[in-house]
Symmetry: C2
Subunit: 296 residues, 2 copies
């Protein structure tokens, strides 16, 4: 079986690491990115450069995207200069981007109209996990599309979690997961503010929590940032974090699912941005609980 030819668009920290693993696994990958300087390390290991979306897609059997948000994804895919217009019939678009339900549906429809296929495949894992090819991949799409994507998934991740046949199922699953992460940040921020004001050593308290009940690395990673008040450089910026919470709430609105904690997180992140935290990590949310308590 010959390897499918791949077009890869979106070479940020995550996309760059994923593309590198595909190239190393022997795929023929043609790369496109809005800012060209991200290409060099990938060309050095065997990737091919494209000067436009059209050029990237021309020969591709599979398009992989990893873009920041709905509008970046739609800008790349839709319209006369977009991927849908330039991919061949039967091509498969695997989208690793964390996008919303409405965007996923629009993309799926556009591809279907063009005789192409769309597989939502958002991932869990930070850039170091992507570099180690240990991403967790959620899928929304029919089993045969997941099967077709499998050689690529094998090269970039450690496990695939099918969430259903509809593309948006994977997006809702991912957005729900991100809401849970934001919940960890906010709740840690609150109890660390309480502990701090009670005169308890915050680092010792966090150590107790993460050594007993809250052993998942997410508590340690974000707890350390909160204890150190170290919110830069950002892993996920506050604006992107808010974007994800709003997408979760939009999905919940459409399905009529009240999310009291989700709504609280939206307000917290909105307040954080109102205070000028655009460049900070979304864990800076914890500063609000500390400030409210008169601690900072």
């Amino acid at each position: 079986m010959t390897q499918p030819k791949i077009a890869f668009i979106g070479l940020g920290a995550m996309g760059g690491a994923i593309a590198a693993n595909l190239i190393r696994a022997g795929f023929e990958v043609t790369l496109y990115n809005r800012t060209r300087e991200k290409l060099s390390p990938l060309l050095a290991i065997g990737g091919h450069a494209a000067g436009s979306v059209e050029q990237a897609c021309a020969e591709a059997e599979i398009l992989v995207t990893m873009l920041a948000d709905d509008s970046a994804e739609e800008a790349i895919c839709l319209g006369a200069a977009g991927a849908v217009a330039h991919l061949r019939e039967d091509a498969l678009h695997i989208s690793h981007s964390t996008i919303g339900v409405a965007a996923a549906r629009r993309l799926a429809e556009a591809h279907e109209k063009a005789g192409q296929h769309f597989l939502s495949a958002p991932v869990f894992g930070r850039p170091d996990v992507a570099a180690a090819a240990k991403l967790s991949i959620l899928t929304g799409g029919r089993p045969e599309l997941v099967e077709r994507a499998k050689p690529l998934f094998d090269a970039i991740g450690q496990r695939v979690f099918p969430m259903g046949d509809k593309p948006e199922a994977a997006n809702i699953a991912k957005l729900g997961g991100n809401m849970l992460i934001a919940t960890v940040i906010e709740s840690l921020g609150e109890v660390l503010a309480l502990a701090g004001k009670a005169g308890i050593d915050r680092a010792a308290y966090l150590d107790m929590l993460t050594s007993t009940i809250f052993t998942a690395p997410v508590y340690k990673i974000y707890g350390d940032l909160i204890v150190a008040r170290k919110y830069e450089p950002a892993g996920l910026t506050a604006p992107l974090g808010l974007k994800d919470i709003k997408l979760a709430l939009a999905a919940a609105d459409e399905l009529r699912v009240p999310l009291p904690i989700g709504s609280l997180l939206r307000d917290r992140l909105t307040a954080l941005l109102a205070q000028g935290a655009d460049q900070e990590d979304w864990s800076a949310m914890a500063r609000l609980a500390a400030r409210d308590a008169g601690l900072e």
Copy 2:
């Protein structure tokens, strides 16, 4: 060094398991419980029965309590028939009960006036963890009191986490931890309602979450209960859960620390009790998110 004589009061699921481990470790333990039938298995392994608090405390150098709430703890300790009145001078009271800041202070003061000592030592771990002598023990009290309690802690737990010299530091630390557990329940309830209404298999979704980011057992344990809608028999009943959240909020009120998630949890658990869930586990809170979404 001879082992100190111990009085042990409060033989529920947790207290019974802790007392058994003290007896097995060779301590001379005199037991008192409001309902006497809890004593039999402990007498069978070498415990001594007392008919009253006074009788239990008469010879004790160390009193250990594990009681349900502030009022049970104060009823046992204060007043003419209470432990403070009947313990000898220099006796140490180790309280494993999850009590509030105000109660911890009142107990510490009463013991101090009587020339005795008080060490707050709430624990993390369910009855099976207590039975395995693997509790995590938080302490609030001066280092010499923690040192004096150490032979007992060695027999019942796996690690001691000193939270400060003031007794209430340990209680605040424990209450904050319980608030984080309740946050896990509520946030899982919300995202599982969202996933369920989106047509995602809830068990598959939970498996994805607990296999990727949320690997701490607390997510799996409560997630399984929520997916199975199995809220009885209760591990921690909803009324006791609400008690803990209210104690966290009371501590936060006194210290002037707003806790938005804490307040939300109070409302959720109050609504749960309004619907008659007194015998259910506090994870039944997740039913509210499902009901709000029209799922049950």
